[in-house]
């Protein structure tokens, strides 16, 4: 914990020399906390995320239970901490699916051009033509309910934007002098792609990945809320809100706090994405 700073400052020229802005510090703290929670939840809470204490039901927030307890006497903060893993891993899988499949489509379309490009982009149009939530519902209907299934369904909805971004990056880079020079000095198609095109597209793709990460957390919590994600007693954040809904007249904390967790992480991921985007521009 007390080792040198993990962020190599010299690689961020805009920030070197002066203190980073407050929003960057906040973003780092929020995402870092969520990541730590999902990796080692037991370090942050002595309570269990799934087993309740008898006689401890529906207690409002107190010094003992900072965010209160639910209908089974489970500590809400512990549940939120243990639930971070589901939101983060789900969003990670979703972004990975979108990034890998989408970038592959965009790369092939942009590099091959001609008829391949036309057909692949029509395929992307088809994916875009179905509203995001309906598309993920259709995927869930095939795959069934579950945490991984919901993550995959959200991932499919992210394919189109990655494909479009990657294609436009490839089309721009393809015309640059250094790519032409690389071809001229005898580099193979694959080598140009790996050595010149991919590294240059990286910042834009990472920015989109961060934005999609935020969107994926929101969508996964929605699917969890509707009951299509991880089953109870999983403390997934959307499911926590769905379960808290049954007690919304008497226990406001059960719905309020998991929602705040979602909002904070989504805002942090979006802010990271926009910061990366601005660095590119």
């Amino acid at each position: 914990m007390s080792t040198a700073p993990a962020i190599p400052v010299r690689r961020i020229p805009a920030l070197s020399g002066k203190r980073p802005p407050v929003s960057v510090i906040l973003t780092t703290i929020i995402l870092g906390t969520a990541l730590a929670w999902s990796l080692a939840p037991d370090l942050f809470s002595s309570y269990s995320g799934t087993v309740g204490l008898p006689g401890n039901q529906l207690k409002s927030p107190s010094a003992l239970h900072w965010l209160g307890t639910d209908e089974l006497g489970r500590d809400l903060l512990a549940r939120i901490i243990h639930g971070a893993r589901y939101s983060l891993s789900g969003a990670f899988v979703a972004v990975a699916v979108g990034l890998i499949a989408g970038s592959a489509i965009g790369l092939v379309a942009g590099a091959a051009g001609g008829r391949t490009d036309t057909w692949l982009m029509r395929l992307v149009d088809v994916l875009l033509s179905v509203p995001t939530l309906l598309l993920s519902l259709a995927i869930i209907m095939i795959l069934g309910f579950g945490h991984v299934q919901a993550a995959l369904a959200v991932g499919v909805t992210a394919i189109a934007s990655f494909a479009r971004l990657m294609r436009s990056e490839v089309l721009t880079l393809w015309r640059t002098d250094y790519v032409e020079a690389a071809f001229g000095s005898g580099a193979t198609f694959l080598k140009v792609l790996v050595r010149h095109v991919l590294p240059n597209a990286l910042t834009s793709v990472l920015a989109l990945a961060a934005l999609q990460f935020g969107a994926a957390i929101l969508q996964i919590s929605t699917l969890g809320f509707l009951g299509y994600g991880a089953p109870p007693p999983t403390p997934e954040w959307g499911l926590l809100i769905a379960e808290g809904r049954n007690y919304m007249m008497i226990a406001w904390w059960l719905t309020l706090f998991p929602g705040l967790a979602v909002i904070l992480v989504v805002m942090a991921a979006n802010h990271l994405g926009h910061t990366l985007e601005r660095r590119k521009a």
Binding site: I140, M141, I142
Partner: protein, 316 residues
Amino acid sequence: MHAQLVSRIGQSILVLWAAFTLSFVLLQALPGDAVLIRFLGGDLGLSPEQIAELRVLYGADAPIWEQYIVSLSGFLTGNFGYSVISGTPVATEILTNLPPTLWLAGLSLAAAALLAITIALTANLTGFAPLKAALENLPSLMISVPVFWLGIVMIQMFSFQLGWVSVINPGPWEQLALPVIAIAVPIAAPLAQILLRNIEAVSRQPFVQVARAKGAAPAHVLVRHILGNALLPSLTIAGLLFGELIAGAVITETVFGLNGIGRLAERSVRFQDTAVLQAIVVISAFAFLLINLAVDLLYPLVDPRLRRDDVKGATA
């Protein structure tokens, strides 16, 4: 111009056909069939003969290409098959559930536009810098709020705490108030962002300086000269907003217990009613393509700068 239009429409039809085919492959061809899933459960006590009869009735026994032809010609004539849950035609289900969803979506869109314009105008007219900064950052908060959570928190606040909106037997308008706000908040966010960005860009145009030089008040310049120009580009995200409205309908109709297309979609997923979900998916894709087509055709009409062939006066 005409050739361009025809090719544009042709492309949309091609995409729609591909969306239908994809949804057919995913929802009808892949998972065995809905009839087997629903009736083989055992608790209904049907004999294999009865199940075979049911499969004939729903057309699930035919070879897959024949089902495809039947399904495609059905969609072209407005016959979307039968719901395996209710047994009624899918077309009937959709027609009865469409009006409430259209009301919900229409009101939400109007509320979102109002909210976005209010944010953008207030941010530009206020002389109080902290308020301006807060309003400019508000959209990034609004876009991060889960609609279902906002709905529940509003029920807790306005129904249970304050008692403003009745939970039991609310009037037709009263029951729409909270869902409309819940949908409008995340939809207003991208609209407000576009408006804020464009008001800034348009403000730097020479004609605005002329208006100011003539002595027009800041509010007058903003509303009469800038706002219209800044609003136009929001047409380009119409398709995106449509998708958000559909998602909002699915979520709020479930949270608030309203009837509509969204609740129908939610139910169809819960009970593996593939015919219903496929119809909703394809009809939504149709609506999305129609909206984008309309925007493409309308944009040059409402923005005269795009009608001319030379792009001298046009601004991006």
